[in-house]
């Protein structure tokens, strides 16, 4: 073979950075799924290469970046099942704004990820496609509902994941899997193409192994969107920061988040992280958010109430695989479709949501929850207007629990959200970063900020990330 032929052959074998990346990602996903992680719902080796070929022609800040997308975010390449049997064959005719923006920036969709059905759960066990496992310890849950995205990011199969939050569903799995999870201020990231669960709470969030990658992705997908009327007309989240330390900032530690029922290792990790924050120049102060104790109960009235309305569209006519009504008419078809298509947790929440909105109970539950939500939001306003710039808390009361451990009693599962759901009720931004481990299991620390202080909480998270070893035992 002459020199020229060798050169041609060699050139043909050389592929672009994007294609090479897609191949590596595909192999990694195949391997972790073979090991039983069950982090994906939609994945196809050929599809990821097709996606990469399209992305190869785009130069942008996310070039050669593989993104795992939670399966309640609409994509054209893969079905959008929401982890539910009722949408198992649903193919969206359009794609979400966040996915469009990822592609425009040169990124590509690697796969769709496992989740609690319609986002209703804190362990990714309530999925019609089977439970996802924690990659750190396969006997434990990855958290939820964005557990699939968190697990794939944690094993390094993808660069970042898109998730969604209604009550902590990005931050809690991020903490359980040892990655960074960011929930923006309500309205900073478009929800066009995110399947609605609780519309006054839902937000798209980002998971990655570093705050640098979180910022890269968040800066691309945030900003105004005319297709989402709740989206703020604000500049995108900043990609980088000039901040070198936390001098001049006051960080509040809300006493209600460090109560007796917080695991001692989690408390220890938070104490160590607080010391590092002080070393970084921050002033640390104890503060109080007195209505925190009502956050979980408030959330579990408002979210199911909104879900009961949002999920009415899954009836076998507008959306959803049609159930067999044996020719008995429309009403029976609705009942058969929904009974067959929804899992037990979704059925429970739709029924609770309808119960708290029904005549005779509206004032007792829904109206009370609305008042409590206002008080919770006012607690945040009060503390931020008292000279506090940021709040630091544990993300979860304990490390990842064992599979099946919270399934018997729904309220036990709900209480897992007690450190995260207040931020959703108030709409404030929050981010979880790894701050240590206990017996190898990751622990997350959480920053919360005032409305629109997304850049500030990411600055603090980034500096803390650099000054603590998230893999060290506490």
């Amino acid at each position: 073979m002459d020199f020229f032929s060798c050169l041609v052959l060699l050139t043909e074998r050389v592929v672009s950075d994007v294609i090479a990346k897609a191949r590596r990602v595909a192999v990694q996903i195949i391997n972790v799924e073979k090991e039983g992680l069950n982090a994906t719902i939609g994945f196809d080796e050929n599809q990821i290469l097709l996606n990469a070929e399209t992305a190869d022609s785009v130069e942008g800040p996310l070039r050669a970046t593989a993104i795992a997308v939670k399966d309640n975010i609409a994509t054209l390449e893969y079905r959008t099942t929401c982890g539910s049997k009722i949408l198992q064959s649903y193919q969206s005719p359009y794609e979400a704004t966040v996915v469009e923006r990822v592609k425009r920036a040169g990124g590509f969709v690697a796969c769709k990820t496992n989740m609690d059905e319609f986002g209703m759960g804190s362990s990714t066990e309530h999925s019609a496609f089977g439970p996802c496992r924690n990659p750190v310890n396969n006997a434990r849950v990855p958290g939820g509902s964005s557990g699939g995205s968190a697990a794939l990011v944690a094993v390094g199969a993808v660069d970042a994941g898109l998730g969604s939050e209604t009550g902590g569903s990005v931050r809690q799995p991020a903490a359980f899997c040892g990655v960074v999870g960011f929930k923006p201020t309500y309205g900073r990231i478009s929800r066009f193409g995110l399947v609605a669960f609780g519309s006054s709470l839902d937000q798209v969030g980002v998971l990655a192994r570093s705050t640098t990658m979180v910022r890269s992705l968040a800066s691309v997908i945030s900003g105004p969107d005319v297709r989402d009327s709740t989206c703020k007309k604000m500049a995108p989240i900043a990609k980088t920061t000039e901040r070198k330390d936390l001098t001049g900032l006051t960080i509040g530690l809300p006493t209600e988040y460090f109560s007796q029922d917080i695991d001692s290792a989690v408390r220890r990790a938070c104490d160590q992280a607080s010391a590092r924050l002080k070393d970084l120049g921050a002033q640390i102060r104890d503060v109080s958010l007195p209505h925190t104790e009502f956050a979980v109960a408030t959330y579990y009235v408002i979210a199911p109430a909104e879900a009961s309305a949002n999920l009415a569209r899954f009836d076998g006519v507008r959306y959803g695989t049609r159930g067999d009504a044996r020719g008995n008419g429309l009403e029976d078809m609705y009942h058969a479709t929904r009974a067959h298509g929804f899992g037990p947790e979704v059925r429970r929440r739709i029924m609770v949501g309808t119960y708290v909105l029904s005549s005779g109970y509206y004032d007792t539950y829904y109206k009370k929850a609305q008042v409590a939500r206002g008080l919770i939001a006012r607690d945040f306003e009060n503390v931020f207007s008292s000279g506090v710039d940021l709040l630091f808390t544990p993300t979860t009361p304990s490390v990842a629990f064992e599979l099946g451990a919270r399934l018997q009693n729904p309220v036990h599962m709900y209480r897992e959200d007690r450190c995260v759901c207040a931020a959703n009720l108030a709409g404030v931004p929050a981010v979880s970063v790894p701050i240590g481990r206990n017996d190898g299991l990751p622990i997350g620390g959480q920053f919360m900020g005032r409305l629109d202080a997304d850049d500030l909480i990411l600055d603090a998270a980034s500096l803390l990330e650099q000054s603590v070893d998230g893999h060290a035992e506490v």
Binding site: L76, P93, Y94, T185, Y186, G187, S200, V226, R227, S229, C231, K232, K233, H291, F294, A297, T298, Y300, V301, A312, D315, R322, G327, N328, G329, L330, E331, D332, M333, Y334, H335, R338, A339, R347, R348, I350, M351, V352, T354, Y355, S358, T364, Y365, K367, K368, A369, Q370, V371, A372, R373, G374, L375, A377, R378, N409, P410, V411, Y414, A426, G427
Partner: protein, 100 residues
């Protein structure tokens, strides 16, 4: 028990989800425990007169009132299991009649 079996049956009808008799007892227990749990909201001081809290923009953004193409990736007839003469076919609404 705060919640009765009859109430759950009524709610099941309202939300159009049929419940098997075998599952009813467990469902009542589960929902009762949830309703009991959220009942702690009755201790919230409701003398406070706060307007309902809604995060996000005070006023929802409006689009320009201009007809724009619908960004659909596939033809409309592919969205439903049955589509004929420009219409989606759904089960007949009149009970017992069957058909489309």
């Amino acid at each position: 028990m705060t919640v009765s079996k009859e109430e759950i049956a009524r709610i099941a009808t309202l939300v159009a989800v049929s419940v098997d008799k075998a599952d009813m007892e467990q469902l009542v227990r589960d929902i009762d425990s949830i309703v009991d749990f959220v009942g702690q909201l009755n201790t919230v001081d409701t003398d406070e007169t706060l307007p309902p809290y809604r995060p996000g923009p005070v006023q929802a953004a409006l689009r320009t009132d201009v007809v724009a193409p619908i960004p659909l990736a596939r033809p409309i007839e592919e969205f439903a299991p049955q589509f004929r003469h420009g219409f989606f076919l759904v089960p007949r609404v009149v009970d017992g009649a069957g058909g489309e």
